[in-house]
């Protein structure tokens, strides 16, 4: 009984310690981000000329201004949130409360596509496949979704929305399936092929949407027509069009639940994980490695496609040319940060979504370029991928991980 208790305790402790490394990675990256802000701020140098104390004070002030703007931009101003809430409770007027919630809604809006893209890469990682092609799958899915979204008319939303989402899934799945098939059949490494297909997708989308292209709007702008009313994803606050937060977020959570169920509760998921761990053993156990690889890449592509679908049906309403999203690389960071677990991906996406939403406010209020988030994201990847750096910085003990995750092998291996 007591023995059982201690193992449970130890297990809980090790769970906290698995969380400790990512948390410290994030904190360290933010600290280094603060260093970048301070060393590029001329007012800090001026203050240091007046004296060390003044300089230090100014540095702290600069960091505080930038990061509080980041926080407010991501989660809202606590004072306004409290006032809005009390006004809503006392008078029943919810407008101030909704306005105060706007930053949080933006965070969730940015989180939505990140969850899909992160899940896409995470699923690939579990299957031993490195899908760098989320960006390309996003482009193709954007084209298929928006086409179904604007070309079909007279449908009720209950049919039109699922159709448009399905089109996105299919577009992304096809774009993911091709490198999967090539990997399984010819051994051509999926990393190279997905990168190549990113650029092919990019050029193809450019061709389709270019002025005079097959999907261009026809008014001289390189954008697609606007989707039908019936293809829109429902917004949570239709009365306030500024709030772009929409049903897509719920879909993203459902997708995460689906990936969890698929990976850990089904035979297919077991096969995906086995092929990812050891393709030779999988083959020996009678699994079809080829089929599993193709299937994994197709599902992964479909998930990346949903990122585009929810962006277009929920937020953009049309597809612009040169739609570079940067989700492809973000997604890799998310999958790593979330340890390729659907729940971890959600948490990681919330963090990145908050960074992206907050960075816009930080740029406007504190004049810190929003590219800072990219620096922070790059550092997070480095620290997550090389936990030894974090452990030696904070003198943490190494933890034995139960399941070693094979991210991908070299070019030559299959």
């Amino acid at each position: 009984m007591s023995k059982n208790n201690t193992t449970q305790k130890r297990r809980a402790g090790s769970r906290w310690r698995t969380l400790l490394t990512p948390v410290m990675a994030i904190v360290t990256a933010l600290i280094l981000g603060a260093v970048v802000i301070v060393v590029t701020d001329t007012s800090v140098y001026d203050a240091f000329q007046r004296g060390f104390g003044a300089g230090l004070g100014r540095a702290v002030q600069v960091i505080a201004t930038a990061y509080s703007a980041l926080f407010v931009g991501a989660f809202g101003d606590p004072v306004r949130l409290a006032q809005g809430l009390s006004l809503w409770i006392t008078t029943g007027d919810g407008r101030a409360w909704a306005q105060a919630l706007y930053p949080l809604s933006e965070t969730l809006r940015y989180t939505t596509p990140l969850i899909f893209a992160g899940l896409a890469v995470a699923l690939g990682f579990r299957g031993g496949l490195f899908n760098i092609g989320a960006e390309g799958q996003y482009f193709i899915a954007g084209l298929t979704t928006v086409y179904v979204g604007y070309s079909l008319t007279g449908l009720p939303w209950i049919i039109h929305v699922p159709l448009a989402l399905l089109a996105g899934i299919l577009g992304g799945a096809v774009w993911g399936l091709i490198p999967g098939y090539l990997k399984a059949k010819t051994g051509a490494h999926e990393v190279i092929n997905t990168i190549m297909m990113n650029y092919i997708a990019f050029r193809f989308a450019e061709f389709m949407l270019d002025v005079g292209g097959p999907m261009a709007r026809g008014d001289g702008r390189p954008v697609s027509p606007v989707i039908q009313e019936s293809a829109r994803l429902q917004q949570f606050l239709p009365s306030n069009p500024n709030i772009r937060f929409n049903v897509g977020f719920i879909l993203a959570l459902l997708a995460a639940a689906f990936v969890y169920w698929l990976l850990f509760k089904t035979t297919i998921g077991y096969e995906i994980r086995t092929v990812g761990q050891n393709p030779r053993a999988a083959k020996y156990a009678g699994m079809s490695v080829t089929r599993t690889i193709v299937l994994t890449m197709a599902i992964s592509g479909g998930l990346a496609g949903l990122a585009a679908s929810t962006d277009i049906l929920g937020v953009l309403r049309f597809m612009p040319n040169a739609f570079a999203s940067g989700y492809g690389f973000d997604a890799i960071a998310l999958a790593l940060l979330g340890n390729s677990h659907p729940f971890g991906v959600i948490l990681a996406s919330l963090l990145f979504g908050a960074l992206q939403a907050g960075a816009r406010n930080m740029q406007a209020m504190a004049r810190v370029p929003l590219d800072l988030t990219e620096i922070v994201q790059g550092l997070i990847i480095i620290f997550i991928a090389a936990p030894a750096i974090i452990r030696s910085l904070y003198r943490l003990r190494a933890i034995k991980e139960g399941e070693e995750l094979v991210v991908t092998s070299g070019w030559g291996q299959l």
């Binding site: 090539l182 061709f207 370029p369 990219e374 030894a388 991908t408 070299g410 070019w411």
Partner: protein, 414 residues
């Protein structure tokens, strides 16, 4: 036996492919022409020191017909007797197809072939340097996905330091150092911390994008004088620059281009004819054996990856100091990834990589030329060709691309 069968099968397929190319020349390019149309290929450039050789004018239909007949002959020979080395012939037939296409495109007009070759070479420079960086790294088994980020760092630093020092040379050296620092980061992550190399490369891309964009919007955009670097002027080599065609293309150009040409040769010779090259290749193919024989695997990898990063930095400096004279955010625009493709297409060989880069550069320059000739082919499809060709090569349809055996695997000393 089986191998032999496969060979005869492939030989027949290639013979038929030659005939298909011949037929395509006739069906695609003949119908739109009339008997009295003439095509002019010019060879002299204005303001060039080269000896003038005039231009070549011929009947459009006659030219296309002649090329098709030669292709038919080659195809028939291949089917009947077979060429000993068939891949050069395949290259010749593809080249003839391109010439037939140009003959058709330039009907009733004049096309300057020397100008086209010149722009092909110039567009190939950053791609070649990226590919050489890839060759340096992957020959010792370190996969480098971060070439793009290394180039971007080189470009940014060369613009900033070049503007500050008003010297192209100091700008160039700074770019080499910046590329080297990024290379060192990849080396430390991949070798010391044994981070998955694709993850490390991705982190470098994100970090470099973030850093260069951040500093660019903080400094280069705020203070325009910081983004006005001087540029290299073309130097005509005495004697050689007087050669027709080759003179203006190869021997009347800027220092980074000469450096690139030199590097192709130097890296080739170093890799295949020196002790360092033998060690590098041994480390890439079988690090354990190399270690047993007393080669320092870690040191070899560090040196190669850092030098590779410097080559990529030179590629970035070329973009700034030899062409546009300013830094723009994300100005490398995927050239690092095309370089990766060129490296694979060139089978991890410096000369091959240069050849592949020339083909990719040609596709790029053709695209602008066709716009001038008003040929109704969407430029996007031409820009897709490098990626498509790479996927085809990688899938083993034309020849097999075999990476170094240990590529991507961290080395653990026992």
């Amino acid at each position: 036996m089986n191998d032999n069968l496969k060979n005869t099968h492939q030989a027949r397929t290639l013979g038929i492919a030659f005939l298909v190319f011949a037929t395509l020349m006739l069906i695609l390019f003949l119908p739109g022409t009339t008997g009295n149309q003439r095509t002019t290929f010019a060879f002299d450039l204005d303001l060039s020191p080269a000896l003038p050789i005039g231009s070549l004018t011929f009947s459009t239909q006659g030219g296309i017909f002649l090329l098709a007949v030669v292709a038919v002959f080659l195809g028939a020979w291949q089917l009947a007797k077979g060429f000993k080395r068939v891949y050069p012939i395949l290259g010749l037939v593809v080249a003839m197809f391109v010439v037939a296409f140009l003959t058709w495109a330039a009907r009733d007009r004049s096309m300057n072939m020397t100008g086209m070759l010149q722009s092909t070479l110039l567009r190939a420079v950053p791609i070649t340097l990226a590919a050489l960086c890839g060759v340096m790294c992957e020959r010792c088994a370190v996969i480098n996905i971060g070439i793009e980020g290394m180039m971007l760092s080189g470009a940014f630093v060369s613009a900033l330091v070049g503007s500050l020092s008003r010297s192209v040379w100091i700008g160039l050296i700074a770019a080499l150092l910046a590329g080297g620092v990024m290379g060192a980061l990849l080396a430390v992550l991949a070798i010391r911390y044994k981070v998955n190399q694709i993850v490390a490369g991705t982190a470098i891309n994100i970090l470099a994008t973030g850093l260069t964009s951040y500093f660019s919007s903080r400094y280069l955009q705020a203070i325009p004088d910081l983004n006005k670097p001087p540029t290299f002027r073309a130097i005509a080599l005495p004697g050689l620059s007087r050669l027709p065609i080759l003179g203006p293309v190869l021997f009347t150009t800027t220092v980074p281009v000469y450096l690139m040409l030199l590097l192709v040769i130097v890296i080739y010779v170093m890799l295949f004819y020196t002790r360092w090259g033998l060690r590098t290749r041994a480390v890439g193919e079988h690090p354990k054996a190399a270690d047993t024989l007393g080669v320092n695997v870690f040191m070899t990898r560090y040196v190669n990856v850092i030098l590779g990063g410097m080559v990529a930095g030179l590629g970035g400096a070329y973009l700034v100091l030899s062409s546009v004279a300013r830094f723009d955010e994300l100005m490398t625009a995927g050239r690092g990834f095309i370089g990766l493709a060129a490296m694979i297409f060139g089978k991890w060989n410096p000369i091959g990589a240069f050849g592949a880069s020339l083909i990719f550069g040609f596709a790029d320059s053709l695209q602008t030329n066709l716009a001038i000739l008003r040929v109704p082919i969407p430029s996007q499809f031409l820009l897709m060709t490098p990626y498509l060709v790479t996927m085809i090569v990688l899938a083993g349809v034309v020849g097999r691309a075999n990476p170094p055996a240990a590529d991507g695997l961290p080395y653990e000393k026992q």
